[in-house]
Symmetry: C2
Subunit: 464 residues, 2 copies
């Protein structure tokens, strides 16, 4: 008697001879008659079930087993029988069935379709549906593929801090972190909370990006990356924004802008290929049930070179477009999603890098180009999602960076350490950021960021 | 002319024939005379430097280069010459040297020893020292080894939420997360902050553990794990506590307590072996300079089986010990670090699992043993560190769990979803947690948790 996993049954040689095997799992469906029952059992290791054949003849508890509500837990021992002519390649002929856990009959995931909205309210149970099983399996594999690609290429993983006293690039609203008593709050003379009495002795927030803190490590290790949670307290109720999400932020010393394009294209292709190799059943399910163009897009992503154009060229293409954009196009605007989607979907039909944006709406640390108007920045626009990756060469010239910080109104004393990186052996360096959940929406076909996060956090809603 | 990495020079065939190569890096030291200079260059990819030989004859900027302060950045092109009889196996004979960045002469890391306390104040520069280079390289490799081991064994990575409305097992003080205006704070009638007006519509905190939220995924995927930051707002100034630290929390369905011991021992051995294979130079440096017993301990960790005893047996051993413990020993006490260290260092001299602790000081979700006094819990105690891993079999019996929650004073309404896991197809399951920084202290020999975290967060101190 040998404990086996359903995944191994589907993907490895099934050479058990006369030996009985044991499979433990949850009932997905039961069809039964007086004498025989067909039980679909899922053991969590694979999106597909194993079919268990149970016969009254020989099973003491046939009656109990066949009456169990779905989602009850069984441990089934029996003989594996090959069924080359049936829909499933094998079935398990039960010799003994132990009942491990009896589910309540009101289990919410009965065999009918549920709306994604409803499933969000039962985030602790939705991974038991095929859709979320596939999504969260892919989330895990994609995270690993990212680590594997970067580590194989010599990148050092750095855990930048979550609680921070600084506000990277002034990006969006931040969450405050505090242990001040909320009833008898110590106050300063001007009626504000007295953060000198707080846990860290000053006001602190949740990080919006680890980029500035990872740069020092690039100047010690050359190629580095962060991969961790980031936070935006935005009043935003779109399908693409969450208050808590994960970012991957690689940073490379001795690297100029083209290295960002090459490295991020390499990373994205590696992740997609890894999923095609290791999550084919899950992707097939999502292609069949969520987005019929998913596999096409993923194959295109690995097979074709990404397009590369400048912002100025992109503006030309948009101006020539036979489309009535809501937001009018002219050189100097930041793109709206309608523009991004037109470029990625209509013009190129695949991922496209857009480089050299106007300096005025980009972050202070991006390197000024010679033209005095643009910076060495890049966004990767992809079909369905829009912006997936943003990166830049960093301004390594101390005097220009200082002047720019002044121009952008940043307090010098807070960034003294950041200027140190230019002062003590500065070098050209570049990096980029990937929103992990945007990437997951791209590779799963899911349309709402809430459906690729185990327990999503958005304004007005926090459960579990 | 070929760009090469110093790591590759040390670890791969150096077969460049007559071709010149280029190395970019930072000056660690320069010794120069009128005609010849020896420059130790570090390029970030390896703990060891490459020695550059620069001759006045043939280099236009010999004077400039040799006057550069340490930490300046160079791009050196030249011929690699094997030096089998010298201390370093090869050297680079410069044909051209580009100066990429000139360091300020007041660079703080001059060639003398600095205290670890001082280096903490320059967390953005300390990775350029050999000690912190080794520590943070090992941090990166250890994180990857953990992912690799778990993924290879079918575990699914789950990102449990960082912002949470619940307080797992009532463990320690929590950080509040809020966007309420801190001057004109909305108040309830009893003078408290009105969290119904806060971002999420209720009071929220930073997570202290992802365990409860990962359990639902174990009941969908069988074997799962979290690996993310956790937070404790503790008034604690020890060498082992930080306010922000990372935890690995695997959770396994269809698994009882012995599976926790087997799996965590397998994981720890895998990580240590991975470091021995992939960070040998870094470990050697730490063994030579930080802890002379480090490599011995690591080899013992992979070579020998961990010891396994019950709590009751451990108490017997402590009672028999010829040691004057500060905290007296008797059945029922929670261990103090003096007890943990005595067991791990003096009795066993290697990692030891202690199982079946008294139920009274362990968490509510741990499974009651038949004796009515103990729970199916385990701690792994290791030399130098004390407790490194804690785990348990979870209480899967709905009625017992409910009674225990009442006994421990937990509000049922907050844990309704957690009870659902028992209601809808419950099964035996078990898991454990590893403090990532404790593990890093174990594998690096570093004595203070602040020295294994890129930017440590402890009470009263938050820089960068």
């Amino acid at each position: 008697m040998k404990d086996v996993l359903v995944k191994d049954l589907y993907t490895k040689p099934r050479d058990f001879g006369d030996e009985s095997i044991t499979v433990s799992g949850w009932i997905r469906t039961t069809r039964s008659s007086k004498k025989i029952a067909f039980i679909e059992l899922n053991d969590g290791t694979y999106i597909k079930n194993i079919q268990v054949i149970a016969k009254r003849d020989g099973l003491d508890n046939y009656e109990d087993v066949t009456k169990l509500p779905i989602s009850s837990t069984l441990k089934v021992t029996g003989k594996l029988v090959e069924t080359p002519d049936a829909q499933q390649p094998f079935e398990l002929h039960a010799e003994a069935i132990d009942i491990e856990g009896v589910s309540d009959p009101d289990f919410p995931l009965q065999k009918k379709a549920h709306s994604l909205e409803y499933l969000r309210t039962i985030a602790h149970l939705r991974p038991r549906t095929n859709t979320f099983y596939a999504v969260f399996k892919i989330r895990s594999l994609a995270a690993f593929a990212i680590h594997e690609y970067l580590q194989k290429n010599g990148f050092v993983y750095v855990n930048t801090p979550i609680i921070t006293s600084s506000d990277t690039e002034g990006a969006g609203e931040m969450f405050r972190v505090t242990t001040l008593d909320d009833q008898d709050t110590p106050k300063t003379d001007d009626g504000k909370n007295d953060y000198s009495k707080d846990f860290f002795g000053e006001e602190t927030n949740l990080t919006v990006s680890g980029q500035l803190q990872v740069e020092p490590f690039a100047l010690a290790f050359r190629d580095v990356y962060t991969f961790g949670p980031t936070f935006r307290a935005e009043d935003s109720h779109t399908k693409r924004h969450a208050a808590e999400f994960w970012m991957i932020e690689p940073e490379m010393a001795f690297a100029e802008l083209p290295a960002v394009l090459d490295r991020s294209e390499g990373l994205l292709k590696y992740v997609v290929q890894y999923l095609l190799d290791n999550a084919s059943e899950d992707l097939q399910f999502l292609n069949d049930n969520v987005d019929h163009d998913l596999l096409d897009l993923l194959h295109k992503t690995v097979d074709e070179d990404f397009a590369r154009i400048t912002y100025t060229k992109a503006i030309e293409l948009l101006e020539k477009a036979d489309v009535d954009f809501k937001f009018p196009v002219k050189w100097g605007i930041d793109f709206n999603s309608e523009h991004e989607q037109y470029l990625a979907e209509k013009v190129f039909g695949k991922p496209v890098f857009v480089t050299d944006y106007p300096r005025d709406f980009k972050a202070f640390y991006m390197r000024d180009n010679e033209d005095g108007k643009t910076v060495a920045a890049v966004d990767l626009l992809v079909p369905r999602i829009g912006e997936l990756i943003g990166g830049s060469q960093r301004e390594e010239r101390e005097d220009i960076l200082e002047a720019k910080m002044k121009e952008f109104g940043l307090p010098r004393e807070e960034y003294e350490w950041y200027l140190d990186l230019r002062k003590y052996g500065g070098t050209k360096h570049s990096g980029f950021g990937i929103g992990f959940e945007r990437l997951l929406m791209y590779v799963t076909g899911m349309d709402n960021i809430r459906d690729v996060i185990p327990y999503p956090r958005v304004q007005g809603s926090i459960n579990f």
